[in-house]
């Protein structure tokens, strides 16, 4: 057992932290305020190979692993949760299922474009009536000889407006329930595909979230991802990986809020002393730091298990559950320790508190994570 980062991971951490501080942090307040997708940051990330961290070099990736990817999402989210989730959805929810379940031809066609950042990826599972109950898919895919015809809509899709490629789930056989769900690789330019208007959100406001509309959308047969009827399993396995990404995002938000708070309590004076001098402040900071360190161990151990190809579904669920709830607690307390200033947009903890909430909701709510964890205990 070894709790230290390797030399390679340390070198990577140094790079991504410097990149986050110099290139991402200066834009964080603006992309939130203007609800603006930071396309220029994504371009810079693409040039460094950050859009394809865990994919093999032969697929156009950087040849890294999930630990490096987790560190990247954490460090980006420490300064800007929007940028963190752009990378997470792109990598875990679009690149990863194509890498894992795609044919050699699908991998060769799509992964180099995704990994180089030429294309941005997204994932469409959630529907107006299929949220936590993802099996209640109403989007249909009808076999029309050499292609499928997809009809329906997906909502709350991260990266929707910026993406060029989508992994989308639809019913190919309604009579079979979850075994009638199939996965498809859909290009933005396919006939009948369009995106709706950008959602107005509480947090991660620079992340481009929209509806996907399939109006008799024509998808070539060769774009079926995996076997027909295996879509639900693909979606669940993809979300296991996605949870490592979102857990890393939550961890980053929590760390960012604590960093800001430590800085603030050293400067802010009340009753003649820096507020960090008071035991109430100290005890709160100690509890938050302890929870963040615990969250980091859970997150890194889930990524580590995935890299070792060990079962990691429960580990990812625990990492996401704990990191998300830690992010929420840390950011709420960070605002409290900042007092009135923390409630204003002059200080980043206000944004971080709004950003943290989504980590308890998307890619499986905290309740879903508890279901996953309990099902592993009781199976």
């Amino acid at each position: 057992m070894n709790f230290s980062l390797t030399k390679t991971q340390e070198l990577f951490l140094r790079m991504i932290r410097e990149f986050a501080e110099k290139e991402v942090k200066p834009l964080a307040a603006e992309v939130d305020e203007l609800e603006r997708f930071p396309a220029e940051t994504v371009q810079k990330m693409a040039r460094l190979g950050l859009m394809g961290i865990p994919f093999p070099v032969e697929d156009g990736g950087a040849g890294g692993d999930n630990l490096l990817y987790s560190i990247a999402v954490e460090e980006l989210s420490r300064v800007c949760a929007t940028t963190g989730v752009i990378l997470s959805a792109h990598t875990s929810l679009c690149g990863a299922p194509i890498h894992e379940f795609g044919t050699p031809a699908q991998r060769a066609k799509y992964l180099p474009r995704l990994a180089s950042g030429e294309w941005i990826g997204a994932f469409g599972l959630t529907e107006p009536n299929a949220g936590t109950d993802a099996s209640a898919q109403q989007t249909t895919a009808v076999d029309a000889g050499d292609h499928y015809v997809l009809t329906g809509s997906k909502i709350f899709i991260t990266n929707a407006g910026a993406a060029n490629l989508y992994v989308i789930f639809a019913m190919t056989d309604k009579s079979k329930g979850t075994r009638g769900i199939s996965a498809f690789i859909v290009e933005r330019d396919f006939p009948g595909f369009s995106v709706g208007k950008q959602e107005k959100k509480m947090g991660i406001r620079g992340s481009d979230t929209r509806e996907l509309i399939m109006n008799r959308c024509v998808v070539p047969k060769e774009n079926l991802l995996g076997q027909p009827g295996k879509g639900f399993g693909i979606a669940m396995k993809t979300l296991d990986g996605g949870r490592v990404g979102i857990a890393s995002q939550a961890l980053g938000i929590a760390q960012g809020a604590l960093d800001e708070t430590v800085k603030y309590v050293k400067e802010r004076k009340q009753f003649g002393n820096a507020i960090g001098h008071f035991q109430n402040t100290q005890f709160q900071l100690a509890d938050l730091e302890t929870k963040i360190q615990a969250a980091r161990l859970l997150v890194r151990s889930a990524a580590f298990k995935k890299d070792r190809r060990e079962p990691y579904s429960a580990a990812a669920a625990m990492a996401k559950l704990f990191a998300a709830e830690t992010a929420m607690e840390v950011t709420v307390k960070a605002v409290q320790l900042h007092g009135g200033y923390g409630y204003t947009r002059e200080y980043p903890v206000e944004r971080m508190m709004r950003d943290a909430k989504i980590t308890e909701i998307y890619e499986g709510t905290s309740e879903v994570q508890r279901m996953v964890i309990a099902s592993h205990l009781l199976k």
Binding site: L48, G49, G52, G63
Partner: protein
């Protein structure tokens, strides 16, 4: 084009604190980094390679842990890394260091040698120019930008006190680079992943073409007479005033000093 970039591992002086009692440097726990001017030099070299093709070698003299900056240079895109490490090299001043580097460069083929202007720990700005003298190379100092317009010469923009000067220098040559005008690239993810799988060539005294009396402590004529902490400079005065009042104060001060 073959380019050799000489780099140095230095303590990150922005992180160094002074002991409030003794006034000495507190070096414990201070991270080591690639000297910023050297990193600027590496960026110039990698830019030339991108535009004109070629091969970039990084060379450092230092203890075994100096390997870290060579890995970083490889992750940024350098092709080859050489660590000059030998007890005989220890205790070197700038002259002995430049003799050792020149000895190593004699064993390498190159059209351009690049060094940083100066290192943030010593601030002498002597090593680059000395290397050029040992190897009888034309040198251009304080370089900010380089282009290769003809096959046999570089067009170089250098910073001078009054502004900028553009000169042409024939190859082979040595440049000392200023970091200020150059934004070094980040290490790439793939570069990082592969950096520790690449070989670092470890050279000792036997690999270097130089007289033993000219390296290390024996080859260092510099004698430290006394070390002391510089007195604290006047920190200036702080005026918390309106912009209009601030203009008034600034103009008065500038007039007092006959600047305007």
């Amino acid at each position: 084009m073959n380019i050799v970039v000489c780099i140095k591992q230095v303590p990150d002086t922005t992180e160094i604190k002074l002991d409030p009692v003794t006034g000495t440097l507190l070096r414990d726990g201070v991270p080591s980094i690639m000297n910023p001017d050297d990193k600027g030099g590496l960026e110039i070299a990698l830019g030339l390679k991108e535009r004109h093709g070629g091969h970039v070698t990084v060379l450092t003299m230092g203890p075994p842990q100096a390997e870290e900056i060579l890995r970083e240079a490889l992750a940024m895109g350098a092709d080859r890394a050489i660590l000059l490490s030998d007890r005989k090299f220890a205790g070197a001043d700038t002259l002995a260091t430049s003799n050792t580097l020149a000895g190593a460069l004699r064993a390498l083929s190159f059209e351009v040698v690049i060094t940083g202007r100066q290192a943030i720990d010593g601030d002498t700005a002597q090593v680059g120019p000395q290397v050029a003298e040992h190897l009888d190379l034309p040198q251009v100092t304080y370089v900010e930008a380089v282009s290769l317009d003809t096959p046999a010469a570089l067009t170089v923009c250098r910073a001078v006190e009054e502004g900028h000067q553009t000169v042409e220098v024939t190859l082979p040559c040595l440049l000392t680079v200023l970091s200020g005008a150059v934004k070094p690239r980040y290490m790439s993810v793939r570069g990082i992943v592969e950096a520790y799988a690449k070989e670092i060539e470890r050279w000792n005294f036997d690999n270097v073409t130089v007289d033993e009396r000219r390296v290390g402590l024996a080859g260092s004529p510099t004698r430290v007479y006394k070390s002391f902490t510089r007195g604290v400079k006047n920190t200036g005065t702080l005026h918390e005033v309106t912009p209009e009042e601030a203009v008034e104060i600034i103009v008065t001060k500038l007039q007092e000093k006959f600047i305007i």
